[in-house]
Amino acid sequence: MFSQVQLHYFVTVSEEGQITRAARRLHLAQPALSQAIAHLESELGIDLFVRHPRGVTLTRAGEAFLVKARAALAAEAETAQMGLSLRRAASAAIVVGFVGPPPMVSTPALFATFAERNPDAQISFRDLPFPRGATTTWLADVDVAVCQLPMSEQGVSVQPVRVEPRAVVAHRGHALAEHPEVDVADVLEETFVSYHPEVQPTWAGFHSLDDHRGGPPRRVTSDNALTSLQMLGIMSSPRAITTVPYADAKLARQVLPNIVAIPLRDAAPAAVSLVWREGAGNPLLEDLVQAATRLASGGDELDEL
């Protein structure tokens, strides 16, 4: 049967539509890739590609096989990820992803409690890009993430850590900057920072108040933000505003002296949450979720900064 490498080559060539470009992406010599594809075709007994002077296109059989090859690679990758999560579970390790400020800063009480209760745990943190594609895929390399709720999905669980008001983040020179607080109605028509098109639309839309407007803003910038760090860079430009949980806004202000954080009086609150894929049964994750549940019901996580 074909190998994982062969399938990976095949999928890459079909995505690039050209052996030369695919070879570059795979760090392979072009003849080696051509040969590998020809070898796969002869092994399968079908033609996968039609060769043209300017590239390759999939045959009908190639198209049908592409769907299955992608599914096989994805299922194997998921198995590997589950293997890594289970290994961490077996060795008292946990990887916590985050979007926005690091968890030790954004939710210090939660992680202080956790560290106290699990002095020997190997906890590591990983900065995640904004949620893209399926939430399970986005969470692939971490055991749990701390973030504003991504798209809900089968196999994904959520525990809110803190619920807090949203705030507008704007440049000091922005017309809104003088206001001590604003209403949703005051800002709906503003120009908002735009997110990368692959970012989950409901997640991105929450930051431009689409939930209140019932649709995207009339004007957005062409920033295409994909990570928190990019967002920090964009926030310091005077062109557009965005909204984030109030605590995050105050943290951003500490980093960027030229921005202001303006409380949004009547916006639906943000729920910063733990989000994780079910199934690995990591005892450390269970403990973290329990700690978050206690904090959420106690409501003492919102520190003054």
Binding site: M1, G45, E63, K68, A72, T79, G83, G281
Partner: protein, 305 residues
């Protein structure tokens, strides 16, 4: 993490069989080689998958969680391989045609004859299948199309009903009902029926013991666990029990097995004899066969495969 080819399949087979020895037999491997491969997989993963006992193996909790993903990966790989094999057959002009029990060429030869005459370049190869199992698309795995009483729909398959056919009671000649020329559903509901294998799709299996008329399982099922039509016939020969079959099958069996009788069931809902194929394989030969079969289903519905 990359898995060695075969390791995931080995693990899934061991988990299903509950014993290294039995799994090795099924995989046609030497038992020590399989033990070693599983130990290697465990060491690659960094956690234990199995608890070894004197009489076999059981899964650890981590093994259970890993099994779910490994099973999905194994089935995605075999689906990709089966799709490629189907395409390769189509290229050679061959259709792998699955059937249960009575070869379709025997119980209704007209359409297949007609199809062969109209498409002399297409070669139809018959493959006998066991009764449908839980996931119809994997049951169909290695054939391009099959004819049988409609199995449950799943997203990977299409089902085209060709004709409806009365159900008929099949009983051993020494059964008290064997002298009857006709029966009603009410008269046979309390009989003992031949039990099918637990792997057979439950709704499909229960159709043949008239559960659709009774609203529940029969009072008594034999312990035969038949997984294909031959095992049902073998069981009938030695049991004081009955089953039902489509009329076309019943017409042939007593000719071959003089110990059995077929008795019409006046008021049972008919069986739906259907062609079943893979939704996403886009096999042009199968599409030609389907068009031909649908075009040749007579108004009375009794002329088709």
């Amino acid at each position: 993490m990359n898995f060695k080819r075969g390791h995931l399949l080995y693990f899934v087979t061991v988990a299903d069989e509950g014993q290294i020895t039995r799994a090795a037999r099924k995989l046609e491997l030497a038992q020590p080689a399989l033990s070693q491969a599983i130990a290697q997989l465990e060491s690659d993963l960094g956690f234990k998958l199995l608890e070894r006992h004197a009489r076999g193996v059981t899964l650890t909790p981590a093994g259970e969680a890993f099994l779910v993903k490994a099973r999905a990966a194994v089935s995605a790989w075999s689906d990709a391989a089966a799709t490629a094999a189907s395409m390769a057959r189509a290229r050679r002009g061959t259709i792998a045609f699955g059937f249960l029990g009575v070869p379709p060429g025997l119980d209704s030869p007209k359409v297949l004859e007609g199809f062969s005459q109209a498409n002399p370049e297409i070669d139809v190869c018959y493959r006998e299948l066991p009764f449908p199992t839980a996931v119809t698309s994997s049951w169909l795995g290695n054939v391009d199309v099959a004819v049988c009483h409609s199995p449950p729909l799943d997203p990977g398959v299409w089902v085209e009903v060709l004709r409806r056919e009365p159900r008929v009671v099949l009983a051993p000649r020494r059964h008290p009902l064997a002298q009857r020329r006709e029966l009603t559903v009410a008269e046979v509901l309390d009989e003992t029926f031949i039990g099918l294998h637990p792997s057979v799709e439950p709704t499909w299996a229960s159709f043949w013991s008239l559960d659709d008329h009774r609203g529940e399982a029969p009072r008594q099922l034999t312990a035969d666990g038949a997984a294909n039509p031959h095992e049902v016939l073998a069981a009938l020969a030695v049991r004081q029990a009955i089953t039902t079959v489509p009329a076309s099958v019943a017409g042939l069996i007593p000719n071959v097995l003089s110990g059995l009788v077929a008795i019409p069931l006046r008021d049972a809902d008919p069986a739906s004899i259907a062609l079943v194929g893979h939704e996403d394989r886009a096999n042009p030969l199968v599409q030609a066969l389907l068009q031909f079969a649908l075009g040749n289903t007579g108004a009375d519905g009794d002329l088709a495969i």
